[in-house]
């Protein structure tokens, strides 16, 4: 492998891991705190992408500025969904919650298909596709490129990850969420309103999914069914990194990106197989992941 190939691949890994961290972060929090495998997550990402699309296309708002809009809208939707539906199964076995979120995902995707049609959408701004050339070798017609939009997405993703980390570790709400995740009955004794905390947790997760959707909308085309793949990625990332902390999600996303990029260079037909094989091995050898803890921190 030439130096340029290695350099570009390293950039690819880094850029990919930023967006994937945001895509998996909310999923990890809901799993860690509420013990729910939330299949609605991919649908929330999809809705975030459409919020950005609509705000950009019809109101001309710069896609990066639409991120707060989709976060707020999805936050609200997440709160409502938890309050009115998921709250009924909070004490149920895992299978029940899994199937419930599966049903919800079907509903949201099909309604989206009705409203938005299954046209492929994308956001193309003036700066889409322009990139920063880090190193160029004109003789060999090769170079190392960092696309601005993906760089921007990486920065936003890292910023949001940091904010989420601070929210979870430094604020009262974060502490309440964490203690609920550790032991909901004990948390109740301390006076926390568990149902509100669950609803807020779910809402934060959906808000993060919305941000992920906005970022993804800038880098690829999408239609209502696209989120499911990201739910699957989130699974793998959370398992690789380990449940229980924000930095673990970042590590997991980094590991996942590394595998997909490396397999992508060598045998792209097997990228997902490689990721899942690693997932199974990881589960068996080290179920707590690279940096997992017993509960959310």
């Amino acid at each position: 492998m030439s130096g340029i190939l290695i350099g570009q691949s390293a950039i690819n890994v880094l850029l990919l891991s930023g967006v994937l961290t945001i895509a998996a972060l909310g999923f990890s929090i809901v799993w860690g705190v509420m013990n729910i495998i939330n299949l609605v997550h991919g649908a929330a990402i999809m809705l975030g992408a459409y919020v950005t699309f609509i705000a950009f296309t019809f109101a001309g708002i710069d896609p990066f500025l639409t991120i707060p809009i989709s976060m707020v809208l999805l936050f609200g939707l997440g709160y409502l969904i938890q309050r009115n539906i998921i709250n009924y199964v909070m004490r149920a076995p895992m299978l029940t919650t899994f199937l419930l979120t599966f049903g919800l995902e079907i509903i949201i995707i099909n309604l989206a298909q009705f409203f938005f049609k299954s046209d492929l959408r994308a956001i193309t701004t003036g700066y889409s596709g322009s990139s920063l050339t880090l190193y160029a070798d004109p003789a060999a017609n090769s170079s190392i490129e960092v696309p601005y939009i993906k760089l921007g997405a990486l920065i936003v993703a890292l910023l949001l990850t940091l904010l989420t980390h601070l929210l979870m570790s430094r604020t009262r709400l974060g502490r309440a969420i964490r203690s609920t995740g550790m032991d909901k009955d004990a948390a109740q004794l301390t006076g926390a309103r568990i149902s509100t905390i669950y609803a807020l947790t779910f809402a934060i997760s959906a808000g993060l999914a919305g941000a992920a959707g906005s970022l993804i909308a800038m880098t690829q085309s999408f239609q209502p069914g696209f989120g499911g793949t990201y739910t699957l990625y989130a699974f793998v990332i959370v398992v690789l990194g380990g449940l229980g902390s924000v930095p673990a999600v970042f590590l997991g996303a980094l590991a996942f990106s590394l595998i997909t990029v490396l397999t992508g260079l060598w045998q792209p037909g097997l990228t997902q197989a490689a990721a899942f094989a690693l997932l199974v091995i990881m589960l068996v050898v080290r179920p707590s992941g690279i940096a997992g803890k017993a509960f959310y921190q």
């Binding site: 799993w31 013990n35 495998i37 539906i85 709250n87 009924y88 199964v89 909070m90 004490r91 149920a92 895992m94 299978l95 029940t96 899994f98 199937l99 419930l100 599966f102 049903g103 919800l104 995902e105 079907i106 509903i107 099909n110 309604l111 298909q113 009705f114 909901k184 568990i194 149902s195 669950y198 699957l232 699974f235 793998v236 398992v239 037909g269 097997l270 997902q272 197989a273 899942f276 094989a277 997932l279 199974v280 589960l283 068996v284 179920p287």
Partner: protein
């Protein structure tokens, strides 16, 4: 055994009547569409019965059972298409290949519990699909395999119909046979408390691997029959995660960890999904909303009857009988019994809704 029969008398009677009806139905003439709908329903029931062993009785929420379906289908596909085998022996091979694969991956994966087991099995299924799609020299890759079909039509229809119905009976019998034996008790003990079961001297690893292999066998033979029945298989179709989810839904709908559950749930699931595509209730064309309504149906079922419809019906009936027996002679009519039953059902539904709430 006699004791067992007495306890479940109603269920057994309903089951036998249902079996009789399904066995005789073709004699009264079925359309090709009815044949296909019912045959697909039987195959769905068999995959549900398979899941019920590991998920319902043993309590391990497996989400990758479609891998066994796909392997069964590909065993039949490859043997018939490349090696010229006749169909029936390939069913057995399909089941055994799936069971062997389950035992192999079960050894490491069954050490995991809860969510982790669920995700690991899902991962195995996805990886299996991708490998089958990639391994072109053996599987013909993503392009899939086409098989000839059985002729004439009426022979084929009845052959697959009764074959699939026979598999349902086999699945029910297998379940019934095992759960009255030591192996079955060990599964239920594992579901209740695996560490305690281990302490009681149960070799939980062996029990779980057997459960998983038997699950895979049932799902694998369903896949084998599907391959020949549909005459075309491709990785993205036979390894589709929806197949696992449909089977799980069927079990949950009917009642997990019971013999009748997968059957009742499979019948109900197939009826609802078929009904939604065609029916125009009150003249309203559901059109493209049929999938959305299916989603709403799933959500409602999960919230209101997490233990399945059989549980709902028997509990309502028991409650109605109790109320009924208390009443003075004059009011005891079929009508009041049904009314009491309906009231009991409403009450149970309301209780169910609150049951897991925070």
């Amino acid at each position: 055994m006699r004791e067992a029969l007495r306890q479940n008398r109603n269920v057994v009677i309903v089951g036998l009547i249902g079996l009789g009806i399904f066995a005789l139905l073709p004699l009264f003439g079925l359309s090709g569409f009815a044949y296909r709908t019912l045959t697909s329903m039987f195959l769905l029931i068999v995959t549900a019965q398979g899941w019920n062993l590991i998920g319902g009785y043993t309590g391990y929420a497996a989400f990758g059972n479609v891998a066994f379906f796909g392997l069964g289908a590909y065993a039949t596909g490859i043997l018939m298409y490349r090696h010229g085998w006749s169909f029936l022996p390939t069913i057995l091979v399909g089941g055994l290949v799936a069971a062997g694969y389950a035992a192999l991956i079960g050894l490491p994966v069954l050490r995991l519990r809860g969510h982790y087991f669920a995700i690991a099995t899902l991962g195995v299924a996805e990886a299996t699909r991708e490998i089958v799609a990639w391994w072109t020299p053996v599987t013909d890759g993503a392009a899939g395999i086409s098989l000839p079909f059985l002729k004439p039509i009426t022979l084929a229809q009845n052959f697959f119909y009764y074959l699939a119905l026979g598999m349902v009976i086999f699945g029910a019998f297998l379940t019934w046979f095992i759960i009255r034996r030591k192996l079955g008790y060990s599964w239920i003990a594992i579901r209740a408390d695996e560490d305690a079961a281990k302490m009681l001297g149960i070799n939980t690893t062996v029990s779980k691997v057997i459960a998983y292999a038997l699950t895979a066998f049932l799902v694998g033979i369903a896949g084998s029959v599907y391959a020949y029945y549909n005459s075309f298989i491709a990785p993205e179709e036979v390894f589709k995660i929806d197949r696992t989810l449909q089977a799980i839904l069927a079990v949950v709908l009917g009642g997990a960890g019971t013999i009748a559950g997968p059957i009742a749930g499979g019948v109900l699931f197939q009826l609802v999904s078929t009904f939604l595509i065609f029916s125009k209730p009150f003249g309203i064309d559901l059109g493209q909303f049929h999938v959305t309504i299916m989603g709403i149906f799933i959500v409602l079922v999960i919230i209101f009857t997490p233990r399945g419809v059989i549980d709902l019906v028997t509990r309502s009936a028991r409650e109605a009988r109790r109320v009924h027996a208390d009443q003075a002679g004059g009011r005891r009519s079929t009508w009041t019994f049904l009314k009491d039953g309906a009231r009991a059902t409403r009450l149970i539904l309301a209780q169910n809704r609150q049951q897991f709430k925070i």
